[in-house]
């Protein structure tokens, strides 16, 4: 029998197995915490910081996807402070690259866009970086548009953890970090890519897409990847 622990989430008493994260505990209690890097079936990394929560007795906000749930914790998942931080993060993500939803393959089917709408991001308060990013069209079936990448690393993890190919990685630091294929090759030249397309399906934005999808046509099937992970008994 696994050890069970008890904690309070938004005032509600929740019992979960020891070793679960706060994110998983909240989910088990039927509470939705937003997250763009988090994905069921992939190991958590805490990259996007959208899942931050408040913990009684701790002044700073903590990412719920990487913080283990502990006996006696009291967690708040929704507050004005949390919301303002989440909004800020989404705005910064939008300002960092070039998101032009109206002409995006993922328009209306995008996790970033949906979250922005949910958080009431009607405009971005920060100056857009307007940096020029390349589009890698070299793969015969897929396209990577860095302009829409939020460096959530879902693609990196699904490829390494589930497909076992580890085609993707991240180079650079901070705002300069960028997704790379193998040791910075164009995707079409990658010798390790199996062409399975799992990265495309888990990508929350229009950064990875099937070639030939016109505007609004890229509908991802990320859930089937999570189900696949479940049936394989992978990380939950």
């Amino acid at each position: 029998m696994p050890n069970m622990i008890s904690l309070r989430i938004d005032g509600e008493l929740v019992r979960v197995e020891e070793g679960h994260t706060i994110f998983q505990a909240a989910e088990a209690a039927g509470k939705q915490i937003p997250g763009l890097c988090q994905m069921k079936g992939l190991s958590p990394v805490g990259a996007c910081r959208l899942c931050v929560v408040e913990l009684a007795g701790v002044n700073r906000l903590l990412p719920s996807c990487t913080t283990p749930a502990q006996e006696g914790m009291s967690v708040t998942t929704q507050s004005a402070r949390i919301k303002s931080y989440r909004r800020m993060i989404v705005e910064l993500l939008l300002a960092e690259r070039n998101h032009i939803c109206a002409v995006c393959v993922s328009n209306n089917h995008c996790e970033l866009q949906a979250l922005a709408m949910k958080l009431g991001v009607t405009h971005v308060r920060y100056t857009y970086a307007y940096r020029s990013f390349p589009v890698d069209t070299s793969h015969p079936r897929f396209v990577l548009d860095h302009n829409r990448c939020i460096v959530c690393t879902r693609c990196v993890r699904v490829c390494a953890e589930m497909e076992g190919a580890h085609v993707w990685d991240v180079m650079g630091r901070g705002v300069g970090s960028r997704l790379v294929c193998e040791l910075n090759r164009s995707w079409g030249q990658a010798s390790s890519c199996t062409g399975c397309g799992k990265c495309v399906q888990v990508c929350p934005t229009g950064a990875l897409a099937e070639k030939g999808c016109a505007v609004e046509e890229m509908i991802k099937r990320g859930q089937s990847i999570s189900r696949l992970a479940e049936t394989r008994g992978g990380v939950l």
Binding site: A102, V103, V105, N107, Y130, P134, V135, T137, S138, H139, P140, V143, G188, K211, G212, C213, A214, V215, E216, E217
Partner: protein
């Protein structure tokens, strides 16, 4: 490094058109240029994008006729994929296009031209707009609104959105037409048809009162270009590009859109951002030609639909063939609106229109592709070059206002020669120029003067480029 692109106040967003008149050393008018909103930016920043994103990106060039860009761009993409799109897709694209013609011509005629035509060119500018028409000719204004709505609703029914639909895709269209929506459009069609017919009757009734305008409007003979079928009938979606000379005699004709650059050259005009397309065999600047409703009715032998053809015969009696006065743009637009409604009916009744086979899929098979269609304002050309992976290497777009650039400048120059004396612009020039520019219905005017006069500024410049005089409204 950050780059700042500075767009001076000429932009149509501000609603300003700027005209620069250059004097020569003898103090006479040397040239005049109308500065028009640019699409060159699109040609630059689409470099590196996957080609199949082009239809939606380029549709953003214009909020009035986005469907035209969607179609021309998709045709260029079809050529890159080297596919022949399924017959139903072609019918559906044309149907969408006709609906757009109807709504765009309705906007142009009822909202932009009717105030001048019905309230008089000299009436109070504050009332010379659609609201003024609504007050004095409520039935006509209501007809105009209803006709535009018919076109827009049809676009929405077909494509899901009125302004920037994502329905037209490389290789065909995204979704088939539902039978209930077809029936709905068919049900509304008779009303639209009677509106256009009624308006044509009215227009012909007042036409004789505009004799002075017909004669004094820009009526310099030019060559014309337009799309035609094999039988020399008008076509808006597909066909050969035909050029005729000022007397109506054929000049040239090409079927393969990729050949356009053998016939259409693009001269860079000093002092202006807009390139001036010209007909290569005649050279620059003699190769001036016009496109748009007037050109289409001059180039084609027939409209290809019964009611419009009957109107065309009468039009030719009144306006001559080829019709030269830019005033006939208005008349031509109404005949085209009628053709649009009739053609929509034909297409909706086509046995293949509900087919679910609507899209061809392929990868890059050709490194170059050109799409040509007739936009409501005239020929529209999209030409792309891609690399093997499908990224845009080069894009060239020639829009209707571009084709007409030389003719417009020419017309403005004519006016300038009459109204510029010494280093001064004489009274009355502004109105004349407005009228000339408006007749062409270039994108800048339609987007800025829906409720009144176009905002114009005319600069008179010495050979050294100093500003000698300026008038503006």
């Amino acid at each position: 490094m950050a780059q700042n692109i500075i767009i001076p106040h000429v932009s149509r967003i501000e609603g300003h058109a700027k005209i620069a008149i250059h004097l020569n050393d003898a103090g006479e008018v040397d040239s005049a240029q109308l500065h028009v909103t640019q699409v060159r930016g699109f040609e630059k920043f689409t470099e590196g994008r996957p080609y199949y994103e082009m239809p939606s990106i380029t549709a953003r060039i214009c909020g009035i006729c986005p469907v035209s860009h969607l179609l021309a761009s998709s045709k260029a993409c079809d050529a890159i994929m080297a596919v022949r799109i399924p017959p139903a897709a072609k019918l559906l694209r044309e149907l969408l296009h006709c609906a757009q013609f109807v709504q765009s011509h309705a906007l142009s005629f009822f909202h932009l031209s009717a105030p001048d035509l019905l309230l008089g060119m000299d009436s109070d500018p504050a009332e010379r707009n659609i609201l003024g028409v609504l007050e004095q000719h409520p039935e006509l204004a209501r007809d105009g609104i209803a006709l535009r709505k018919f076109g827009q609703l049809a676009i929405e029914r077909l494509a899901g959105e009125r302004v920037h639909p994502a329905w037209v895709v490389p290789g065909g269209v995204h979704a088939p037409l539902r039978s209930d929506l077809r029936d709905a459009i068919l049900g509304e069609l008779p009303i639209a048809r009677s509106i256009v017919r009624r308006t044509l009757q009215m227009f012909k009734g007042v036409l004789d009162g505009f004799k002075a305008e017909i004669d004094s409007f820009d009526n310099e003979p030019t060559a014309y270009a337009g799309l035609v079928t094999r039988e020399n009938s008008m076509h808006w979606y597909d066909g050969a590009v035909a050029f005729i000379d000022e007397n109506g005699a054929p000049l040239a004709r090409f079927e393969d859109p990729g050949e356009y650059s053998n016939y259409i050259g693009e001269a860079a005009v000093p002092f202006s951002y807009l390139k001036a397309p010209y007909f290569i065999p005649r050279g620059y600047p003699a190769g001036i030609y016009r496109v748009g409703p007037l050109a289409r009715l001059n180039v084609a032998e027939t409209c290809g639909t019964p009611l419009a053809d009957a109107e065309l015969a009468e039009y030719r009696q009144r306006a001559g063939h080829p019709a030269q006065s830019a005033f006939y743009f208005h008349y031509a637009r109404l005949i085209e609106a009628l053709r649009g409604v009739e053609r929509m009916e034909m297409l909706l009744q086509h046995p293949d229109i509900l087919s679910t086979h609507i899209r061809a899929r392929a990868q890059v098979n050709c490194l170059e592709g050109t799409g040509i269609i007739e936009a409501p304002r005239g020929l529209l050309i999209h030409h792309y070059q891609v690399n093997e992976a499908g990224a845009i290497v080069k894009a060239n777009l020639i829009v209707a206002t571009g084709h007409n650039n030389l003719a417009m400048n020419h017309a403005v120059e004519q006016v300038a020669k009459r109204f510029v004396k010494g280093a001064k612009i004489e009274e009355g020039m502004l109105n004349r120029v407005s009228a000339v520019v408006r007749a062409f219905d270039p994108c800048l005017s339609c987007s800025t003067h829906a409720l009144g006069q176009p905002a114009l500024q005319i600069d008179l410049l010495s050979p050294q480029g100093e500003l000698l005089d300026r008038v503006a409204n």
